[in-house]
């Protein structure tokens, strides 16, 4: 409980992962101040990450609502939905919202998220060309579906292939056009990408790599796509999956930005009392060892939580972000984290491949520390490796068994004993108090 009543106004732009996590963490330490949450989305909070599951017809729309209906009441938060922030005056601490209204604040969190990158090619404005980022996008695609036999997905990354998977499950013939030589070129190394590609193709998703869409054809509506090799594919629906870019518009020129809004250890920007979190933010990446945007759900929640606590006057250091992702297609799971395609010297790759059982484990080591990894199928121990990496544990004692199929948490216990100060979670200690080779 707070020792004194605080009287701040916290403005939070965005009501997805980072925004919600901030509201929740602020309310943990400050029950009296005002919180104003502004979102350009018309709906109550929903999970974008689940849109492809909804699109696939695996789950009803209900699955999308990640917070209860009385959420804002419960957290005593004023909410302005369907409201665009049209301007921000950082110096005078005021926001201008649609309808020329003004909101003053003491602390501001920019959790404006990211938008799907669009493709600027001829015909991209035709009816039937979509991105998959918002609920409107998903509903728009669903409305078209009865008239769609063939769909083209432009982009072989996470969103592109999740969209392809969803449409395939809906009975649509799907062709994925990928510019790179391999699918998942950001998330996976070439070997893992090939295993996944084969699996997707066996399950009926067509994939072409090394090709790009040159033009989208059709009258008002899409009837096909012309590729840069001159070939034409018939389709009535196109989904663009070319990644996302941080939404910086509101504050550009007022706070320091790069690919995202630069946030420090407390997730504060270069301007006092202005914080950034989630897909819009760019923070220190502990595995890549540089400033980086990691536009993933877990990072957004963590950053929102830490930013919220710091806004409310706590002094909490953010341990840094990292890239990681998990996907599942037709019952084959794949996960990766950190550096998967090491460039330059000093890296060592520990690889175990069993192509028949579609088992693949690759762990990237640098200076006796794990910096990245890719796992296919046997993914249950991904988190163990991830946390060894994040805590910068010296793994030289267990390096020879790290990629082993039989590697499990038991093998980590001696390391916890020897490098106790690096294992920060209290639960690590719980697991090994009774372990001592001399006990």
């Amino acid at each position: 409980m707070p020792t004194h009543i605080k009287n701040n106004i916290y403005a939070i732009i965005g009501n997805s992962a980072a925004g919600l996590a901030a509201i929740e963490s602020i309310r943990r330490v400050d029950q009296s101040s005002r919180i104003v949450n502004i979102s350009n989305q018309p709906q109550r909070p929903y999970s974008r990450c689940l849109l492809s599951y909804y699109l696939a017809g695996q789950y009803d729309k209900d699955i999308l609502w990640i917070r209860p209906e009385d959420y804002y009441k419960k957290y005593d938060t004023e909410v302005l939905l369907n409201t665009a922030v049209t301007g921000a005056d950082i110096k005078n601490k005021t926001l201008e919202i649609s309808g020329k209204k003004k909101i003053s604040f003491d602390k501001l969190l920019i959790a404006t998220g990211a938008s799907a990158k669009f493709l600027n090619i001829k015909g991209a404005d035709k009816k039937g060309v979509f991105v998959l980022r918002t609920l409107e996008d998903a509903d728009g695609i669903l409305r078209m579906l009865p008239n769609v036999k063939n769909a083209c997905i432009l982009g072989g990354g996470l969103i592109g292939l999740r969209a392809a998977y969803a449409l395939k499950r809906r009975g649509v013939a799907v062709h994925v056009i990928v510019k790179s030589e391999h699918i998942f070129s950001q998330m996976l190394d070439a070997e893992a990408a090939d295993i996944m590609r084969q699996h997707l193709e066996v399950n009926g998703i067509e994939i072409s790599t090394g090709l790009e869409a040159a033009e989208i054809s059709g009258k008002d509506s899409v009837d096909g796509v012309i590729l840069d090799d001159g070939n034409r594919l018939d389709c009535q629906l196109i989904i663009i999956g070319k990644g996302v870019a941080a939404n910086l518009g509101i504050v550009k020129g007022q706070v320091k930005t790069d690919m995202g809004i630069l946030a420090d250890e407390r997730l504060e920007t270069d301007r006092k009392d202005i914080y950034a979190a989630g897909d819009a933010a760019q923070a220190y990446d502990v595995l890549e060892e540089k400033n980086n945007v990691n536009q993933i759900w877990p990072a957004a929640i963590r950053q929102g939580k830490i930013a919220g606590l710091n806004m409310a006057g706590e002094e909490i250091k953010y341990e840094g972000s990292y890239g990681t992702n998990s996907l599942d297609f037709f019952d084959l799971a794949v996960m990766s984290f950190g550096v998967v395609k090491p460039k330059g010297g000093g890296f060592e790759e520990l690889i175990a491949l069993d192509a028949k059982r579609r088992l693949y484990r690759k762990i990237v080591v640098k200076g006796e520390r794990i910096v990245g990894g890719v796992l296919i199928n046997d993914v249950e121990r991904h988190g163990i490796l991830l946390h060894l990496a994040l805590q910068k544990i010296d793994i030289s004692d267990i390096k020879d068994i790290l990629a082993d199929e039989y590697f499990d948490f038991g093998k980590v216990i001696p390391l916890i004993k020897r490098q106790a100060n690096l294992f920060i979670r209290p639960e690590y200690k719980d697991t090994c108090v009774t372990y001592s080779p001399l006990y």
Binding site: W297, M335, G383
Partner: protein
Amino acid sequence: MVQSKKIFCDITRCIACRTCEIACAVEHSITKDLFLGMLERPRPKKRTFVHFIERDVSRSTACQHCEEPPCMEACMSGCISKDEKTGKVDIDRSRCVGCWMCIMVCPFGIISRDITDKNKALKCDLCPDRESPACVDACPTKTLSYESRDEFLKRIKQAKKVYAHSHKK
């Protein structure tokens, strides 16, 4: 603040008999019977795992019900929650979509993919129908206990004293 209870393991007592694993699967079966459970489809599954640390040294590990659960932060459907009173971390199966983000970030690697039963994440639920988890009750060497961290540490410290004392003789 009352410390929440969870399952602790005294590594010095574990003989890797895997009784905990079996008791766990039976408790989470429909018939709650070892033999009949084997006939059930989907098969009853264990949520605790015996891991070897070195030769002849093992421990049984299930969900640690973390103070700051990474799985809860990573879950993109918001189906993982932590009970503020009991400290228990729970998965709401009805909202789990099988994205495996929880598995991706679990420091202990003890969440499983329940692929034969609706593709949901599976982990220790501390046996909601029982006073004490089935694995703890079944453990023949009293390796496992269900108590708070302080109780566990106190008990272990005392046991150490007894051990050191008898050793001196």
